[in-house]
Symmetry: C2
Subunit: 365 residues, 2 copies
């Protein structure tokens, strides 16, 4: 049915080996022959069979991208930039370049492992894991083992927005986000405005991103002498006046979390949310409670997602250069750019002060 190399070869009056060589351009072929083959390819509308090629050459045109949910702008931005980067061939020739296989894990460890198997099955050229890692000893070990295997078989691995995996060998490159630093500067900003009762609607438990942002938050508080310094790894103390609740990175978690926070401490003057999406939920909850932002309560997000600047009021947040990170991950996963020293780069985050934060009102409520 389909046109094969042999058909093209017959038409051009050469062997299939020669056609293959013309197509790949990795072996000298006389100019006239090349022309003849080219013409035959065009006339027959020949399209190579990628699977056959991959099998024979032990190569692959696929790069896997694991995300929590590609509909979440955080991941969408990374995935989009990554896809664009790898699609552009080395010589910017269209038709070279790899295809991105996007996998929604929903944050589930099992799904993560399942997709890694599926990508191993496809003998993917590379795999990029994005977003925070689930911090579970067993799961981390399982993922590390799978990644080590993949790496050993030639698949390039890049972690984007998650902490490095020390036990997996040096083959794994990491692009980490400075969540801790960003969170710290964010909370410092609130403290410097005069806030002291700062609530926290944090992300899911056992997530590296959650932990890092919380650590930054705590460090800022500690620097102001507001909370005892707690040894690393220890549970964050849920202090009166600085309550912490956990939820997801979605709007409704923010909404529910804000209500719970208000129950724990009705006098909070500021709330830092898990991310911008959750922050929108926080704002909505406050509005529904008749509290104004930032008049009664200041609210801060994280990530600086595109919609944040248009929220009401515009969200104070921490910007992460997600697209740059995604593009860089793409270059790294193809080996198109050299890995950073130590196989790990940390991308800086930037505090974006906007309308949703202001000094606390001195008045009682």
């Amino acid at each position: 049915m389909a046109v094969t190399l042999a058909d093209v070869a017959a038409r051009a009056g050469v062997s299939s080996a020669t056609v293959s060589r013309v197509l790949n351009g990795n072996y000298p072929v006389a100019g006239s022959t090349r022309e003849r083959v080219r013409r035959a390819v065009a006339e027959l509308d020949y399209v190579v069979n990628g699977q056959a090629r991959a099998l024979a050459a032990a190569s692959s045109d696929l790069v896997g991208v694991l995300v929590n949910d590609v509909a979440d702008p955080f991941f969408g931005l990374i995935a989009s930039a990554l896809q664009r980067e790898i699609a552009a061939g080395p010589g910017r020739l269209p038709g070279d370049g790899k295809l991105a296989v996007v996998c929604n894990t929903g944050g589930s460890p099992e799904a993560e492992l399942t997709y890694l198997t599926l990508l191993e099955r496809q003998r993917a050229a590379g795999v990029v894991l994005t977003g925070g890692a689930v911090e579970d000893r067993q799961h981390t070990a399982a993922v590390t083992a799978r990644l080590a295997r993949l790496a050993a078989s030639g698949t390039r691995i890049v972690l984007c927005g998650r902490p490095p995996l020390p036990d997996a060998g040096a083959e794994i490159t990491t692009i980490a986000f400075d969540n801790r630093g960003g969170a710290r500067r964010l909370t410092e900003h609130l403290l410097s405005l005069g806030h002291r009762r700062i609530g926290c609607v944090a992300g899911p438990l056992e997530r590296s991103t959650t932990r890092h942002r919380l650590e930054g938050h705590r460090a800022a508080l500690a620097a102001y002498g507001l909370a005892p310094e707690v040894a690393a790894g220890e549970e964050f103390r849920d202090l009166p006046g600085r309550p912490v609740v956990h939820g997801g990175y979605d709007r409704s978690s923010g909404y529910d979390g804000a209500l719970e926070l208000l129950r724990k401490d009705p006098a909070v003057t500021a709330i830092v949310a898990a991310n911008d999406t959750a922050a929108l939920g926080v704002c909505a909850a406050l509005r529904d409670r008749g509290l104004s932002v930032p008049g009664d309560v200041s609210v801060a997000g994280f990530d600086d997602l595109p919609f944040s600047v248009d929220a009401a009021p515009a969200l104070t947040t921490v910007r992460i250069p997600l697209q740059e990170a995604g593009a860089r991950a793409g270059r790294l996963v193809l080996g198109r750019s050299a890995p950073p020293p130590g196989a790990m780069a940390t991308v800086a985050t930037e505090l974006m002060v906007r309308g949703s934060t202001a000094p606390p009102s001195g008045s009682a409520r």
Copy 2:
């Protein structure tokens, strides 16, 4: 290096054919043999080579998804639901199920064709084209031809959010969005509020989505006797008091478009934007001009993207069930659900009235 079927066969003391049969479960194998093979697979951590399988079985685990930009929530929502749907195997068994290859075309016809070639190369099991089509005779013909070829070679094709391709044979299923109806109801809503000077920051020219939304808009105006009925296919008349400008689906296009609109007719009392993202830009521009929404100018979006409800003020818009559509496209592209009659379904859109639209203020500005 890698473990192959033959290795497993040797370990289990059977032929590779038997191993293949156990793995695929499509041929009777004695229970004891099956057990032995299963054990060997587990002990060797065997993962089948998808490319070899695909080549031999003339099958594929890949489904292509063409989007403008997966970072755009409109496409992200569709792609996400689609991916989730196809990843779940027929028997909900993980490990069955297909992988989604996401391709950002950026709305470029050439990119669209390039990706179709790449997907043909991979012998994709299916391809889903999402979002409005570029309405160019030549390009439509080229795409139609390519899709017909793909369909002929067994690749299932689904169009999601774009008009059907009549000349491509019946193999192509279409899920169309009722953009026209939605736009019409939206403009009717504005008219019924009393608006008569309604500006339009429309999407890109030559895009089916843009055309349909504009047609709905125009139909509503015509029904109010506000614009002459214009024959289909004719250019939309840019009437004084009802100016139309074109741009992209992004925020800055909305911003610039709004400014241009105000230049054309400083007295507009309402603006309908190309979509919600552009609407945010429109609101920002109005704000920067010192105009309040909806006090001075009402603004409406389209799509009901997740952030729209949290905008300031909440956007009146037209809801498209993007996730449902994406999931349905996933089912259709795998042949898991039967195509609708006529190979075409239109999904209804719903007017969402929120705070960004209100009756025009009687006062002069």
